[in-house]
């Protein structure tokens, strides 16, 4: 398995990147030079001024420390929303694909309609109206992004349904629910996992977008929040918004690499080269 990882550049960098992010998040208090919540006397310092590597903002917070701690928020948001979205998608898609017939038709229509809804605004609405705590954000993203996972799971379930070992289980008298949870879902889950990395990227971007619109959780350090703060100081203190954005770009890229790498591992067919 190590060899497969090393051979596929994207998977390799994705996993290395993920490890890097996890380390930063876990070791944040150790790595960050200051407490990000410390409203110090150095206000709007430029890069490197007074020992602040990336400067400070209006409240005297050290930007570098904030970015380090922001990693925790982003990873939490990514993982929890993707988890909720994945579970919902797996269950709904699995039921649709495995049970088939009317159930499948009804659920598929439901999935299609859900996919056509303007979800970003739905999220905006819910957050605006129900409160902007970070947990609300995570839950809302999770319950609005499950359709793509459901479609993948459904396709898997449809094909797994015809496999011999599933038919054997049915013949042996196992109940449909048992088969669903014992065989269909565990075997079909892999593409959903790969898709989940895309979901994680989107979750981070969505949370950033919400924060940027002022609908984020102001009590939490988040990169999106930093960009929101930085907007007012764009011309005078450009570093407040810039580095937070770069952190987002790096993190999202890592998740995409991870997703692409996982997809390669699952589908070793290469489209390059025409052989006979």
């Amino acid at each position: 398995m190590i060899r497969t990882i090393v051979n596929d550049k994207q998977l390799l960098f994705g996993i290395l990147g993920l490890i890097f992010l996890l380390l930063v998040a876990v070791l944040a208090p150790v790595i960050a030079p200051e407490d990000p919540y410390y409203y110090g006397p150095d206000v709007l310092n430029k890069l490197g001024e007074n020992g602040h590597l990336l400067g400070t903002n209006k409240m005297g917070q050290d930007i570098f420390s904030m970015i380090i701690h922001g990693t925790r928020t982003s990873l939490k948001v990514a993982v929890i929303s993707a988890f909720i979205s994945g579970i919902l998608g797996m269950l709904i898609g699995g039921v649709a694909g495995y049970f088939g017939g009317q159930v499948d038709r009804a659920i598929s229509e439901f999935i299609n309609i859900f996919m056509m809804l303007p979800t970003f605004f739905l999220i905006l609405l819910i957050i605006a109206l129900f409160g902007n705590s970070i947990y609300n954000v995570m839950v809302v993203i999770g319950i609005t992004t499950w359709p793509s996972n459901a479609k993948l799971m459904r396709a898997q379930a449809l094909s797994l349904r015809e496999r011999t070992f599933v038919k054997a289980a049915t013949a042996m008298g196992e109940s449909r629910l048992q088969i669903l949870f014992k065989y269909i879902i565990p075997n079909g889950v892999f593409p959903v996992i790969a898709n989940t990395t895309v979901g994680m990227s989107n979750a981070i971007l969505t949370e950033a977008g919400l924060s940027f619109l002022g609908l984020g959780d102001p009590n939490i350090i988040s990169w999106g929040q930093m960009i929101y703060d930085g907007k007012a100081y764009l011309t005078s203190a450009w570093w407040i918004a810039t580095f937070a954005g770069i952190a987002i770009v790096i993190t999202v890229t890592i998740f995409y690499l991870l997703g692409d790498g996982l997809n390669h591992v699952m589908n070793p067919k290469r489209s390059k080269g025409k052989g006979v």
């Binding site: 229509e109 299609n112 309609i113 056509m116 809804l117 303007p118 979800t119 970003f120 605004f121 739905l122 905006l124 609405l125 819910i126 605006a128 109206l129 129900f130 409160g131 990227s201 971007l205 950033a208 977008g209 940027f212 619109l213 002022g214 999106g224 960009i227 930085g230 907007k231 764009l234 011309t235 450009w238 918004a241 810039t242 937070a244 954005g245 987002i248 770009v249 790096i250 999202v252 890229t253 995409y256 489209s271 390059k272 025409k274």
Partner: protein
Amino acid sequence: MRKYLVKRLLTGLLTIVIAFVINFLIINLAPGDPIKTLMGKESDDPVLRAALEEKYGLNKPLHIQFFSYLKTAMRGDLGISIIYNRPVADMIAEKLPATILLVLTSGVLSLIIGTAMGIVAARKEGTFIDVLFSGFSYILNSMPSFWLGLMLIIIFSTVLNILPTYGMTDARASYTGMAYVLDVIKHMILPVGTLVLIEIPMYYRIAKSSVLQVTNEDYILTLRATGMSEKKIFNKYIFRNAILPTVTIFGISLAYLITGVSLIETVFAWPGTGRLVLTAINQRDYPTLMGIYLIMSVSIAVVMIVVDIVYAILDPRIRY
């Protein structure tokens, strides 16, 4: 073909209705209401509240509110904004053209540029151009749109000072005719540029993989065996077959733009419906919110239907 059309229209209609119902429920079941905003944060005079609720029909049961809204909406009357005391339809009509300008321009430009890049990368697979474009696309894909907008402002407005920072027109001058058009275009460059850069990766990926896949198909080999010129094979056969997924992506892209444009409108202070929605959300201006959401849902549904129909025209296999 006809059956397909009808089915699509019905699904579209159903989507709009459901979106609407969900929206209505969320808005009305949420904490906070416009009355509070109207009355101001301090006072909570019950008599005043009762009077205001009566005026805006907010004291009737939910389902009655829903149907009366539907009834008037069908006639084109989207209600009166509780906060601004103007017809919602008017407010939307004022701001909509600015948003449509951004959405359509960005949509079409990103389609052309992204698809062209994808085709070039596919034909020159493995070369430096391919690697360059792919890397570029990857990074763009990871950027938050609003952050990119801010960075572009820093570069082009603050540092280089060649493009305006905000707004659709220069408020101080009052241009007319050609000068007006040029002024608007000048203000459009950064917001449209941001949106186009954000959308390009989607088109790039699909165009590149589609061209690669089609080029490896059996029928292309057959055509080559007939001695047909590469140019003709590419322009007529590869292109026509590879362009199909791009059509679908165009629909998705427009849907994304219709909703995502509000972030860009905020960054660039562009006077469109996106910003209107945000203020309406903050002020709990129900009628305005409902009105815009309705327009958005309808637009997205229409776009999807049109895209599906165009796809069916281009791909004869779908019609059956």
